[in-house]
Symmetry: C2
Subunit: 409 residues, 2 copies
């Protein structure tokens, strides 16, 4: 059976138009990496690009590289490259700070744009940092958090809601929100919308402007392959550019940063989303990842992502393993991942890692397998599914070493 499935997988790989891109990433031997949705793999071009930035631009160019290597323009130019991946115009996206910091900026900006409304509406179980960033503003007395289950969001949108804040694809289950419908519902209630694209940007088609989204943020180190803790990005629809005032008013968001005036005056356009001096090494690595995703193309990535996860489920079915799938069964309704619920999910995840299949565990009982389509093969699906079947059949999770929890899981 293993051979027959591998045979089928290899036929699919042979027909895969993206197969050649796998070689553009560095992947360790003996590893099937199903955690690109947590940290994207390393593009082979990244080390030489960083070497050039470090030795050439920093070492040789020194302070002059702010101009000569256009360090000063990187937040904008990389933002402009991310923009078409998420359905935005080039002047609507900027690469800066972390996702968390960008959330704070835009939640605060929304509160100011909707005076008299203090409620930030989200759903329980949203990615923690999205919920936590509301907490800081709540403590400042400026916001009030309201959570409603996803089926009840529309009815929770009343005249107190300043902002609807949701993650487009759920980090744990992979469920995808209907961005257009929810954005419209929020607008109908007089609220703004902020989409967190961390689990969709770069893997799935996102069309912020077609959905008339107001704000968005997204992560640089997952499907954009920007490296651990890469700079994030933020989107503000052009119609809001003059009205947006975010409170992290650092010198790089100033209209004329190098005038060194005592008074803050925001830059026109998306630049006012910037705060401090941009992190050049991180931005350079992010740019390589973004360029590669743009070259492959989000539509092709999304098609392959669906095909990979469908094939994975098919293989599990052929082996007769019936796990509780918490992701939507319809591949068009989910992100680039499959999540299974199991009381021993932690130990199963560890047992898989012991076999070279790296997925991840999400508290309390979710085994999450991500299918980064840029570098995974159908063969990886066949083998990863077989390992999961064997771990399950052998009860390998009972091995006590697989129950030692590490700091990050």
């Amino acid at each position: 059976m293993r051979d027959a499935l591998l045979q089928r997988a290899r036929e699919l790989d042979a027909a895969d138009p993206l197969a050649g891109f796998r070689d553009r990433f560095m992947l360790p031997d003996g590893v099937i990496y199903l955690d690109g949705n947590s940290l994207g793999a390393l593009p082979k071009e990244t080390p030489s690009r960083l070497e050039c930035v470090i030795r050439g631009e920093w070492g040789e160019g020194l302070i002059r590289s702010w101009n000569s290597a256009d360090w000063i323009g990187m937040t904008r130019s990389i933002g402009a490259k991310i923009a078409p991946l998420v359905g935005a115009n080039p002047n609507e996206v900027i690469a800066c700070d972390s996702t968390s910091v960008n959330l704070f900026k835009l939640i605060a900006a929304a509160l100011e744009m909707r005076p008299g409304r203090k409620v930030i509406l989200s759903e329980p179980g949203n990615f923690p940092t999205d919920l936590y960033m509301i907490a800081g503003l709540e403590r400042q007395g400026l916001a009030q958090r309201r959570l409603a289950d996803r089926g009840k969001l529309a009815e929770a949108l009343d005249a107190d809601v300043a902002l609807l804040l949701l993650t487009h694809v759920h980090y744990k289950t992979g469920e995808m929100h209907d961005m257009a419908a929810l954005t419209k519902a929020a607008h109908d209630a007089g609220a703004l919308v902020l989409w967190d694209l961390s689990h969709s940007g770069g893997a799935l088609p996102v069309d912020l402007n077609a959905c008339e989204a107001d704000f968005a943020v997204g992560c640089g180190y997952k499907y954009l392959n920007g490296g651990p803790g890469a700079p994030a990005y933020a989107f503000v629809a052009e119609r809001h550019h003059e009205a947006v005032h975010q409170p992290l008013t650092g010198w790089f968001g100033h209209e004329v940063p190098f005038a060194f005036s005592d008074d803050y005056s925001p830059a026109p356009g998306i630049d006012r989303l910037q705060c401090g001096t941009p992190p050049i090494l991180g931005l350079a690595a992010l740019e390589v990842g973004v360029d590669l995703v743009a070259e492959i193309g989000v539509d092709r990535l999304a098609r392959k992502s669906r095909a990979l996860s469908e094939f994975f489920l098919e293989v599990l079915g052929e082996w007769g393993l019936d796990l509780e799938l918490v992701s939507p069964l319809d591949s068009a309704a989910r992100g680039s991942q499959l999540s299974f619920r199991h009381p021993e999910a932690y130990a199963i995840c560890q047992a898989l890692i012991g076999r070279g299949v790296i997925g991840d565990f999400r508290d309390p009982d979710i085994l999450r397998l991500g299918f980064a389509p840029a570098y995974l093969r159908f063969e990886d699906m066949a083998e990863a599914a077989r390992h999961l079947v064997e771990v399950h059949a052998n009860g390998e999770w009972q091995n006590p070493e697989f129950n030692q929890r590490a700091a990050v899981t």
Copy 2:
């Protein structure tokens, strides 16, 4: 005369206990770099360290490196290495975000710790981002900015002041505040103090705890040689650890980030200053720079810094050039820089750059020369001073090409 001065300089270099450290930095040929206070030079070890982090930890280790390479601990462990450089305990400093973002966190935290007081007191002409970060909180209705000239700060400290926010060494003039006296004055008025160490940390002795400072922030890319836009650091005195609540409540500041709970609960201690996922590439580069500064030793750096700037002034004097010095004449009262006022400062700076002497210009009329003691020689002082003399004597600033303003100056 040039020969005699060079001769003296080389004797000083021969006797310099730090002379050997110059070789630990990569410095371009034909350049005398007097802008280490804007962007520190590249330590030779940095490229190989980054290569190892990128290829080994990211490429091979992938997501596992959060544990196996202790990425998860880097903000704390690098903070602990910075701590002794600024007179703090290892558990009082964390490396994260930008200086601007860290200013926001601590200004907001101070406002909450001093209910009923809204004034943030600073001085006009402080580094812009320090003043601008107050503006964001002002716009949120939480703060009120008050500026007083440095001679009048003590009398401006009334019962409305929540926080005194000052840069220890002035970015433009190099003037140094009396940290102990001003901290005491603020405390006597019931206010807290936040010191920006961007132009002193790593170059001069700073003793936050001996001065009973409450908070501090500092820059990673100047005297700490962490690379362009390196992560910054933040200090909170241990006595405030439980009382500090900063509003950028991201998941990395949570008590148990990987419990993925819906509700924010701050980590104990300095960890609650963290916000989003830490930038590993930037932190790795910063660590190399910090290790090198720690190896050389701040006291030795400060001694050499004073000797360098004194020698520079001596050489200018021997050449008979009398420029208006805006830095204190007493080397113990200034940072590691000399700033001169001249109506043609911009063009003089450009003419010097044309001769390979990289200093910088600060609007509207300041020529700022920084003396990073880790990698500069007395010979560089003699030659840089001679170039300045010649630029001045020849009126080289009249060359129109030296008056084209670039984006970053």
